[in-house]
Symmetry: C2
Subunit: 214 residues, 2 copies
């Protein structure tokens, strides 16, 4: 507090921190989320304690790393989500953007979804989902915002927007995860089928003629 410097340009420390993050990024993308702090330090050309001075602990480093990628992905998704197009087109573009992202850089995707912060925290309280990637939560909230901005609030509760936001994001995530592993179809096909699902096709599809009914 009280620094006369406006610090618009990064201080030396901040630049160093950025360099360390880039080194960490290289290692994590090469070795996966279980990369050791020693390996990261070695890649950066230094030793462990410096990492700890900058990031506190491993979770801190990983959080900083995740924020970077998450911000980048969120930016491109926001663009697709806010584009001036009709609802269905925007949905398809957003799905497309997400799937293209996870397809082109699966290691990043894997890291973001599985931070694997297995700290010896010995937390006695069961805070569910402390390990789940914050990316999905942020995305869900973001989408909820867009939904409640665009949809008539009289349509239903405002809470509906948040449920839908998280629900849709979860659908996208799970389908994307499965698709990335099994590659059962082209990306465009997946996009269309998910959009169809959200467009109410589940409700209107006919039953099998001779099936178990309903």
């Amino acid at each position: 507090m009280g620094s006369t410097q406006q610090d618009d340009r990064p201080s030396a420390t901040e630049r160093r921190r950025g360099e360390l993050l880039e080194a960490a990024d290289r290692v994590v993308l090469r070795d996966g989320p279980e990369a050791s702090m020693n390996a990261i330090a070695a890649e950066a050309g230094i030793t462990k304690p410096i990492l700890y001075r900058h990031f506190g602990d491993k979770s801190g480093l990983y959080r900083a790393l995740a924020v970077r990628h998450t911000d980048a992905l969120l930016d491109s998704l926001r663009a697709a989500l806010d584009a001036p197009a009709d609802r269905r087109t925007r949905l398809e573009r957003t799905l497309e953007t997400y799937l293209a992202a996870i397809e082109s850089r699966p290691q990043v995707y894997r890291f973001l979804m599985h931070p694997a912060e297995s700290g010896p925290a010995a937390d006695s309280g069961f805070d569910i989902g402390r390990h789940t990637a914050p990316l999905l939560r942020r995305l869900g909230e973001e989408l909820a915002e867009v939904i409640s901005e665009r949809l008539d609030p009289g349509t239903d509760d405002v809470a509906q927007a948040r449920v839908w936001g998280h629900g849709i994001v979860g659908m996208m995530h799970a389908a994307g995860d499965w698709w990335l592993r099994e590659r059962p179809c082209a990306r465009a096909e997946l996009v269309r089928q998910l959009a169809d699902l959200l467009w109410g096709r589940l409700a209107t599809s006919p039953n099998r003629p001779q099936g178990p009914g309903f």
Copy 2:
């Protein structure tokens, strides 16, 4: 091989294994997924090497544990999914069942979703999602089966059923995870809103009158 015994009743070894699993279950539900093998062994009244003889390694133990709970949950979900009722009712009952399960035993839920198997495997290949809980995959396949059983296959590709299965499961999971953490509404409310979403309400809801349009 070649045992004349039909081994319908559990052998002594299998019974022991079951006891160990129950002890592990107690510890994991008390301490979370980061419970140490020592702690589990202590709870079972024995020492580590025995656990390793029975389960190979920590992942093995956790897998065995997860299979138990997953099977139990899948059984109750199958019941709701296959019940003789109309499509919407079945959907709502299934959502209800799932949410009730994760609500009543959040520790089990947390364990199943975050196995945290951080083995020193040093796998050079990036098999995405090796860490994700198999529960969701199994559930997705299960639902896909039900969908393709019941829906007219002429409606669209058979592949559609799998996309929808995984997508719907992901929606349920993400919404449930968020709901469990924030508790923004009653369970029945959440069920209704998710069902509405899948019933095409996203497509038919009107825009805000003065909003950004579309």
